[in-house]
């Protein structure tokens, strides 16, 4: 009887602590976030941007925070920064519907150029990196357990063999999808042009021949960096150099 009573109180304490932790982490209880939202609603967009950026600087990254920051930049007319933050929101939560809708609108408004995506890229981007990682992990261990079971059993089971083959195929497909995601258009090399009147050039000089004019918000894929210049793959399958301070990577 005494043991049951102790177990009850331990459970109550743990549940209470969990609820308190979850409640304290909610944004509507974060005064800095609430203040930035209030600035935004009152039309003080620059103050709102400053408030959101403080949270970003403090490492409080979340899809909603970047989405709100993108909205504030849009209100200030800075399409490059707005698109960058919508992209960051989608990098954290690929199925963020508001960020996707606003990104499409701002891209249209800014005439931003997008990197060309192959059909394979589009198929692969149907899933997220997290989903592929979990699928790969489960398939890998299922295949290993199946192989161990097969090794110790005295007879070959067709069902067991099928499970091993299926798991191996799923594992290989997930790893390939992860590789494609990490090297494709949504990889860590993806950057957004935030400067204005940016020209991609043939060489690392301001007077070098222009390759392509990049409106703010245009996507580039950073291939390498040399000093203050980035060598990047550009929309329309071109490549060129742009100033390093004219673009920011999506992944921080």
């Amino acid at each position: 009887m005494k043991e049951r009573t102790n177990l009850f109180w331990v459970s109550v304490t743990l549940i209470t602590l969990g609820c308190a932790t979850a409640s304290s982490a909610r944004g509507d209880q974060n005064p800095a976030f609430a203040k930035a939202n209030q600035d935004y609603s009152e039309g003080h967009f620059q103050e709102a941007v400053n408030g959101y950026q403080k949270l970003v600087g403090a490492g409080q990254w979340s899809a909603n925070l970047f989405y709100d920051l993108g909205n504030a930049w849009f209100r200030l007319g800075n399409f490059g920064e707005a698109i960058l933050n919508y992209e960051r929101a989608l990098a954290l939560d690929p199925h963020h519907p508001e960020a996707a809708a606003n990104l499409a609108l701002v891209r249209d408004e800014a005439r931003a150029l997008e990197l060309r995506r192959t059909a394979l890229d589009r198929y692969v981007e149907a899933g997220t990196s997290t989903q592929y990682s979990i699928a790969a992990s489960i398939a890998f261990w299922a295949a290993l357990f199946g192989a161990a079971r097969l090794f110790f059993s005295h007879r070959r089971s067709a069902a067991l063999l099928s499970l091993i083959i299926f798991s191996t195929v799923v594992f290989a497909g997930s790893v390939f999808a992860l590789y494609s995601l990490e090297t494709g258009g949504k990889s860590g090399a993806l950057a957004i042009v935030t400067g204005k009147d940016i020209q991609a050039r043939l060489a690392t000089a301001d007077n070098a021949s222009s390759v392509l004019a990049l409106p703010p918000g245009s996507e580039i894929k950073v291939l390498s960096q040399r000093g203050d210049w980035l060598y990047a793959a550009l929309p329309n399958d071109l490549r060129g150099w742009i100033p390093a301070n004219a673009a920011q990577r999506v992944r921080m």
Binding site: S62, N64, Y67, E98, L144, A213
Partner: protein
């Protein structure tokens, strides 16, 4: 490094000089050493006129230059009615820049116009290796010499046969328009006997009221008036920036020549005045000793009257003056709405390419145009002839079936009027998105609330969505899941489970092995006992003990039991024995216990009678599952 060799038609008549041999030998060695790298260059061809306009009787130079190969046959005879075209020789050039070797052959022609008019010099085809190279078509406008207003200005100090040097400033026009490119040539000649030690590689053109660049020197050997000269030519092109008279020159060319310390001390002047090779050899300053002397060659001044461009220039005029043609193309030809299309426009001809801007589009409605990129490839030494390529990215906002025509306007200084070039519309296929809208975007916004009839007519979102006020419980990370430590730490759980499973299976196999060994030992013991029970060599005490042990072993093997725990009842139950067998088993175990503990089993009997032995054997055999 630049090595140039002349191959004029009259060259073989020049006196044989010792230094000439040395130069030729050095040039030949350099040619042999560099021929391999030169042959790897991609061949190309250009053709340039020194002026695209001239008067009747005024000579114009034509140069056809082939780069990338030195074994090039000369073009066939060029024949144009109204023009007298003579070849004046060819010149080979080898140039090394940053260890890149380039070789070229230049064919020189003099064109003498016989009558006024507009003449077209047709393309010349030259076979280089396995390729046929084709020069561009050139146009030469000839005015009547009686009323020409833009004739050539040739300010010559001396091309006098009596003098050993000359300098001249060649300006092909006496009047020009603001912005019009005027080629300028300064030629400095030294008679072949004159030893030139130093001459500036670049010259500055004095004067004001025009844009100018440094003039770079090129060297060749030419025969003028029957005498052979080393001629240094400086070329540039200027463009007047204001109206009125502008003065060009005089151009001063400083040079250092070597003068012999004393001449003809040992060999008197040839009384017959003939060219004696020995005479030339012993008068060579390299042999006799010489001193450097600075000289300054000066051309005369040239005046040009600069006229303003006519008023009412078309809105597409960007300041280009000259004579141009335009071609245009676009790629890809089939896109979706919003996808970029690169439109390439090539403007070629002769004029001030620095003022040639990208062509404008006739109707940009429904298109989003990005600033064009430009690339200029010049065909001559001074950059007034060539091709300027513009690449403009267009993005269609709606369905389209053609890219609008491009317009480029320039001022034709010969016709003295503005000319607008209009390219043909480029057919493309733009799919997706909404159909072309007749109403402006604002009107579309008003009707956006109407229900959509089809996916193509779905109204676009007009403003961004609202702010979100929730933050997640914990900050999120851009690091992919597979790159996080927690992900790999979590893999320890299935790893430990797998290791546990494998360990358990191995231990189970080990235990199975021990059980098999135990059964093997019991089986072995049972076999030995059975064999001994058939023999008549044991005392009754020992025999019945063995028999009960045999029953215990048989029961233990059948039911996987410990043999020491087996008694008569257990054995009978294990084999589901009937009452008789059960009684006999009980009797066997009692007998065994009796002879083991009381010793009554002996009674003087030393061996078990055969009947009793058979009975025991039958009983053991009858125990079957």
């Amino acid at each position: 490094m630049s090595i140039m060799t002349g191959n004029q038609s009259q060259m073989h008549r020049s006196p044989l000089r010792h230094s000439l041999l040395a130069r030729t030998a050095i040039a030949a060695l350099a040619l042999a050493a560099l021929a391999g790298s030169a042959s790897a260059e991609e061949p190309s061809i250009t053709a340039v006129l020194t002026s695209s306009e001239a008067a009747v009787g005024q000579a114009v130079q034509l140069q056809i230059q082939v780069k990338g190969d030195r074994n090039v046959p000369p073009p066939a005879e060029i024949s144009v009615d109204g023009l007298e075209i003579h070849s004046t020789g060819q010149m080979q050039s080898f140039e090394m820049r940053n260890f890149n070797m380039t070789s070229s052959v230049t064919f020189n022609y003099t064109i003498l116009p016989l009558r006024a008019g507009r003449f077209v010099i047709p393309p010349q085809i030259i076979r280089v290796g396995g390729n046929s190279l084709r020069t561009p078509e050139l146009t030469l406008n000839i005015t009547d010499s009686a009323n020409q207003s833009s004739g050539s200005n040739r300010a010559t100090e001396a091309a006098d046969p009596k003098k050993s040097t000359f300098a001249e400033l060649i300006v092909p026009k006496t009047s020009a328009y603001v912005g019009e490119m005027i080629p300028i040539v300064v030629r400095v000649g030294f008679e072949i006997q004159t030893r030139v030690r130093n001459i500036p590689p670049e010259l500055d053109l004095p004067g004001q009221g025009f844009t100018k660049q440094k003039m770079r020197a090129s060297e060749a050997r030419q025969v003028i008036g029957g005498k052979t000269y080393e001629v240094v030519t400086y070329k540039t092109a200027i463009a007047a920036v204001r109206t009125g008279a502008i003065e060009i020159g005089p151009v001063e060319v400083p040079a250092v020549i070597l003068v012999p310390q004393s001449q003809r001390n040992r060999f008197p002047q040839n009384p017959l005045g003939m060219n004696d090779p020995l005479d030339s050899f012993f008068n060579d300053p390299w042999l006799m000793g010489s001193v450097p002397r600075e000289i300054k060659l000066t051309t005369e001044r040239v005046n040009i009257e600069v006229k303003a461009l006519p008023p009412n220039a078309p809105p597409t005029f960007s300041g280009a003056v000259g004579n141009f043609t335009m071609t245009a193309d676009g790629n890809p030809k089939s896109v979706q709405v919003g996808d970029p299309i690169t439109v390439t426009a090539k403007i070629s001809g002769r004029g001030n390419f620095d003022r040639v801007a990208g062509p404008s589009f006739e109707d940009e409605h429904g298109w989003h145009k990005y600033p064009p990129s430009a690339d200029f490839k010049q065909d001559d030494d001074v950059g007034i002839s060539g091709i300027k390529t513009f690449e403009t990215v267009l993005s269609p906002n709606e369905r389209k079936d053609r890219i609008p025509a491009q317009l480029f306007t320039y001022f034709d200084s010969l016709k003295e009027q503005y000319v607008t070039l209009r390219g043909d519309p480029i057919p493309v296929r733009v799919e997706g998105g909404a159909a072309p809208l007749a109403t402006p975007p604002a009107a579309a916004a008003v009707t956006a609330s109407a229900p959509a009839a089809s996916p193509a007519a779905v109204p676009k979102q007009q403003d961004i969505l609202h702010q979100l006020t929730d933050l997640p419980a914990a900050p999120q990370s851009f690091t992919p899941l597979f790159a996080r430590g927690s992900f790999w730490f979590a893999q320890l759980v299935p790893l430990l489970a797998l290791l546990g499973y494998v360990g358990w299976k191995i231990r189970q196999a080990h235990l199975d092995n021990r059980e098999a060994q135990r059964r093997e030992a019991l089986q072995h013991e049972a076999t030995e006992l059975k064999r001994s029970l058939h023999r008549n060599d044991a005392s009754p005490q020992e025999y019945f003990s063995r028999a009960s042990r045999a029953v215990q072993l048989k029961t233990a093997l059948a039911k996987n039991l410990d043999p020491n725990t087996v008694d008569a009842e257990v054995a009978a139950s294990a084999f589901r024995a009937d009452e008789e067998t059960r009684r006999r088993l009980r009797h066997l175990f009692e007998k065994s216990d009796e002879v083991r503990y009381s010793g009554s089993g002996q009674n003087g009997i030393r061996l078990v009678p055969p009947e009793a032995r058979n009975e025991v054997l039958d009983l053991i055999e009858s125990l079957r599952e």
